[in-house]
């Protein structure tokens, strides 16, 4: 059930896509943050979180994503999300997250927007 959520990253010339798998709870949130911070340290200023492998998140996990958003704002970078389930999409809207990290349907559109 916890699926020992795995996080992987795909580096693409300044931009990086982070892929998640499984339940984003506190552990998985921290795992994502670790990956994100090391990408930032490598100089990536645009991050895309592709959540296609995730069907559940909890608010503790999301609060860690907010830390990443804060960090991106600090360094003048950009963070976006793609491939959210309708419920995760709705939750991010309820929270107002989307004002600081836009949501795109598919990866290609998100990458184009982040590069644009």
């Amino acid at each position: 059930m916890t699926d020992n959520s795995t996080v992987t990253a795909d580096r693409r010339d300044g931009l990086a896509v982070i892929y998640t798998r499984g339940y984003i709870n506190n552990q998985a949130g921290e795992e994502i943050a670790r990956v994100a911070y090391s990408l930032i340290d490598e100089g990536h200023k645009a991050l895309l979180l592709n959540l296609e492998g995730t069907t559940i998140v909890n608010s503790i996990g999301i609060s860690i994503l907010i830390e990443i958003i804060e960090k991106m704002i600090e360094i003048g970078g950009r963070l976006a999300f793609c491939r959210l389930t309708p419920t995760i999409d709705k939750t991010f809207h309820i929270m107002g997250l989307t004002q600081y990290a836009p949501i795109y349907g598919d990866e290609a559109t998100a990458v184009a927007a982040l590069r644009g």
Partner: protein, 145 residues
Amino acid sequence: MNGQAILREVTLTLPMAPDMEVAASKTATAIAEFMKMSPDRIDEVRMAVIEACINAFEHSHSPDRQVTMTFEVVGKGEPEELRITVRDSGVGFDPETIEEPSIEAKLREDRKRGWGLKIIRGLMDEVEIHSGREGTTVVMSKRRR
């Protein structure tokens, strides 16, 4: 309750332990599927259940370390609504004193947490919180469609 009856009532008691909220959410899913709620609405219920359980696990400090949940399928003949009660016998809290979180404030503050109740209220159709010295009871309902 304008002629509504409880068509099914299922009770689940869980330990306050990692991942048990996922077990709770799967039981909720099973009952919601039984009443043929639409998949998107079921998913919203699932997330609300996870949040309500985590709150009890984290904040109740209940000595028995258990959460009791009731799932009631309510309707006149046909299932119309799923009513979920999440009960802990912890320290309780006053929901009135909980500040509504905002993303602007959270981006500045150190504590990014504090979203659970807002998410529950946003995803369910009706939410009531009863809390006091005997603990906390969250009653949340979602119509079938």
